[in-house]
């Protein structure tokens, strides 16, 4: 687990696209003390998101450190997924969504005009709630990203001229599957359709697919909510392992899960505010706000 130390954060506000509206001083006060080092992998600053006229996130600021697991928890509809999707601009795909504020990846603003979405998403990978493998072979699922990015050439033409990257492809597939702890289970049927895998395997496949494009940050939206306990346990182990190399952000509705796997936890509450953010242990054992305590102890939600 990476060391986390509260420090002053750089002011990214200069780079902001739009200024935020008023912020809820009282709730912010509770956690703004807690900040990470300068080199936060992702620095989110005063992020507002609107769907049409509905505000889904209210001036959220938080820093995601590298090589650790950050959990986002909160009741349904509080904006966790929305927040997550802002981090790789998947929200751009929603017509009604409007985003204000700033998100910086390694200090580089991702909401500025010239940002190349393709590059961004290569560096900030995402795993969804429902496992969503392509209806292709396991192999093809993994090599899909690299192939499309031109890192692998396995086209007909290449094969015809014998210049294809079949071996690299194989190596890459194996590496990604091993990393996602799936290799042993599927190595004998790489050519089978990925839809034939169990839910848990599918989800690990999706993680492997994401790893294959070699991202810096991995976003996961309730990656285990559709899975049974055993598969869930495997995914949890995997997440902890991934944190050794990547910055992982996980949304979960399962507080036990959050406490088990994460290094720091952010608690969102209804209305899209970030109420508390800090080291996981502290949040679960000694939450600063009454609302968070109520939520964590199951008074509601």
């Amino acid at each position: 687990m990476s060391e986390i130390e509260p420090t002053q954060r750089t002011d990214l506000a200069e780079q902001r696209l739009t200024t935020t509206g008023e912020t809820d001083e009282t709730t912010q006060a509770a956690w703004t003390e807690f900040q990470f080092e300068d080199d936060a992998k992702l620095a989110v600053e005063a992020l507002d998101v609107y769907y049409g006229n509905e505000q889904a996130l209210q001036s959220v600021s938080l820093d995601v450190p590298d090589e650790s697991v950050t959990a986002l928890i909160g009741p349904s509809g509080c904006g966790k997924s929305t927040f997550l999707r802002c981090l790789n601009r998947m929200n751009d795909r929603i017509k009604s969504a409007r985003i204000e504020g700033s998100v910086a990846l390694d200090g580089q603003e991702i909401y500025s005009d010239g940002v190349n979405l393709v590059e961004l998403r290569k560096r900030v990978g995402m795993v969804f709630q429902e496992p969503n493998p392509f209806p292709k072979s396991i192999e093809d699922n993994i090599s899909y990203g690299p192939r499309k990015h031109g890192d692998l050439d396995t086209g007909l033409l290449a094969r015809l001229f014998g210049t294809d990257d079949a071996e690299e492809a194989q190596a890459l597939v194996e590496r990604a599957l091993r990393r996602a702890a799936l290799w042993e289970e599927v190595k004998d049927r790489l050519g089978d359709n990925a839809l034939g895998l169990s839910g848990g395997q599918q989800q690990r496949l999706c993680i492997a697919r994401c790893l294959a494009v070699d991202p810096d940050v991995i976003l996961m939206d309730e990656p285990a909510s559709a899975l049974d306990p055993i598969a869930t346990a495997k995914i949890e182990d995997l997440i902890e392992e991934l944190a050794e190399d990547y910055s992982v952000v996980v949304v979960t509705h399962n507080m036990q899960q959050a406490s088990r796997i994460s290094d720091q936890t952010a608690v969102f509450l209804t209305g899209g505010e970030l109420v508390e953010y800090g080291e996981t242990e502290q949040i679960f054992e000694n939450p600063q706000s009454q609302r968070v305590e109520d939520y964590i102890t199951g008074k509601f939600g």
Partner: protein, 535 residues
């Protein structure tokens, strides 16, 4: 009437009531089937069974059903039979019986008195009101049996005693046709037995909610049975009529085929009806080969015209264009055009395409016109198929940093293919059986003696348009057009078949081709659906 208040978790054992109801249902079923035999003329109305003419037997059947219903109704009313009827049979039943009684009263009045509105109208109204009240006022057991029984017994007795017999005809003023007893009686009996089975079905389950369910199920079951029967008969009819023609001269190993290069002769299946020309002096067994090949070319042309256009447009409309007014209008328009009558397309082809392309009836215009017809369907189905690709897949691809077109090509289109293919096959099934536009833009000789030689027909020249194809620019025949020609061309030029025989043969081949296409379409849909769900 027993009460409903007591909670019955377990049903009572079967009673005499059940037996009577079962008996009534049995008689109703038999009578129902018997009247169909008469209607389909499989049994002559003059035939007799046990000394009674069939018609009279039908009457007896109706009367027996009516009698049975009376027993049930009265028995239930006085608690001899254990039932749980509702307090009333309900308004819909009342209205139906009211109308039936009104018709009965009105008819009786016209027959007995005179055909004048002043006379029959009041009688009909009175009967209607009586029928309505008789079915809604008493409890459900009486209300849904006795009014039926009355009608059935009346009808049954009139028929049984010969009041209406095969020779009797009813020639109303408003109709140019007249209705002889030989047909009218079976028709009435069909409806009568349906009513009877409904009523008895209700009784069998002791009326109430479950009685109504049973009644409705009997009714629907019989109607659907009849429907499936008729549809099945149609197909059976074509098959039995066409089979002999189609198989004329056919043999499994009678033919000879020389293996190319080797020169060896081997036994080969022979199927002259499929493989022979239709006309020409030297054809012994005329066949439908030209039509078969013509249909093939039509389909190939229409598909290669409509499928790329339709799929391309579907991709644009779903993936690139913003959803809004425009896409909506296109959707409405394509749906409308898909149901636009084919003859209208034919008219368009005749007036617009023929003068510009071939100057006369031709394969290529036929292909285009059928292509136009197919186009909306391809657009609709591939659009649906593309829309059905879960957004999750697009998101997944986008989240890997893959561009839009690559996503479309590698994720969306492959996933949409099954739906599109299914749709196209079904569409092809439909256009392959399409006749109307072909009359106007495609068809040539009714008894063609050559198959269109499209592949060999290409000619290249130094002048524009550089490529021509005489075969494509000439008229031809297609299976549905061949059938139409056979109907209109009347006298078949060969002794071996009569015109109708050749027609049935053509119809059978057409049916096999088109229904075969449909079967592939329906089957592939099932297959893809299963595949998607299982894996």
């Amino acid at each position: 009437m027993s009460s409903v208040t007591e909670n019955r978790l377990a049903a009572a054992d079967s009673t005499t009531g059940d037996l009577v109801s079962l008996g009534v249902i049995g008689v109703a079923t038999l009578t129902f089937l018997a009247s169909w035999l008469l209607l389909l003329q499989w049994v002559d109305e003059t035939a007799t069974v046990a000394g009674l003419s069939v018609l009279k037997l039908l009457g007896v059947g109706l009367a027996v059903i009516g009698g049975g219903l009376v027993v049930i109704g009265v028995g239930s009313r006085f608690d001899y039979i254990d039932t749980t009827p509702s307090s009333s049979a309900g308004a819909p039943v009342g209205v139906v019986f009211g109308v039936l009684w009104a018709i009965l009263g009105g008819l009786a009045a016209t027959l007995l008195l005179e055909n004048a509105v002043v006379l029959w109208l009041p009688v009909a109204v009175v009967f209607g009101v009586v029928g309505f009240l008789a079915s809604v006022l008493p409890g459900e057991d009486v209300g849904s049996t006795l009014p039926v029984a009355a009608i059935l017994i009346l009808l049954g007795v009139v028929v049984a005693i010969g009041g209406v017999n095969a020779g009797w005809t009813w020639s109303p003023d408003w109709s140019s046709a007249s209705f002889p007893g030989s047909e009218l009686v079976p028709i009435l009996v069909v409806f009568g037995t349906l009513l009877g089975a409904w009523s008895a079905g209700k009784a069998k389950e002791g009326f109430g909610a479950e009685g109504r369910q049973a009644g409705a199920y009997y009714l629907i079951g019989s109607v659907v049975f009849a429907m499936l029967g008729v549809l099945g008969l149609l197909i059976g009819f074509i098959v039995t009529n066409g089979l002999q023609t189609t198989l004329t001269g056919a043999s499994l190993l009678g033919g000879r085929q020389t293996i190319p290069f080797v020169g060896l002769q081997v036994a080969w299946p022979e199927f002259p009806f499929l493989l022979n020309q239709t006309g020409g002096l030297y054809v012994e067994i005329p066949g439908v080969l030209p039509a078969l090949v013509g249909t093939l070319w039509l389909v190939v042309g229409a598909v290669s015209f409509a499928v790329p256009l339709g799929i391309g447009a579907a991709v644009f409309l779903t993936e690139y264009a913003e959803r809004g007014r425009f896409t909506q209008v296109v959707e409405v328009a394509t749906n409308g055009l898909w149901s636009t009558p084919s003859i209208v397309f034919g008219l368009f082809g005749l007036a617009f395409l023929v003068p510009r392309i071939s100057g006369g009836n031709s394969i290529v215009v036929g292909q285009l016109v059928l292509g136009f017809m197919l186009l909306p369907l391809v657009l609709i189905t591939s659009r649906e198929a593309i829309l059905a690709v879960p957004d999750a897949r697009r998101d997944a691809s986008a989240a890997l940093g893959v561009t839009k077109w690559q996503t479309i090509r590698s994720v969306v289109l492959p996933a949409a293919m099954p739906g599109t293919i299914t749709g196209v096959i079904l569409g092809v099934g439909r256009i392959a059986g399409e006749t109307a536009p072909l009359l106007l833009v495609f068809g040539g000789s009714p008894y063609p003696s050559t198959t269109p030689n499209v592949l060999g027909g290409f000619r290249f020249s130094a002048q524009p348009p550089f490529v021509t194809n005489e075969a494509l620019l000439s008229p031809a025949s297609a299976l549905p057009y061949q059938l139409y020609s056979t109907i209109t061309a009347g006298v078949f030029p060969k002794e071996i078949f009569t015109n109708t025989e050749f027609g049935w043969g053509t119809a059978l081949v057409l049916l096999l081709v088109v229904v075969g296409l449909y079967a592939i379409g329906v089957g592939s849909r099932l297959y893809f659906r299963r595949k998607l769900h299982n894996e």
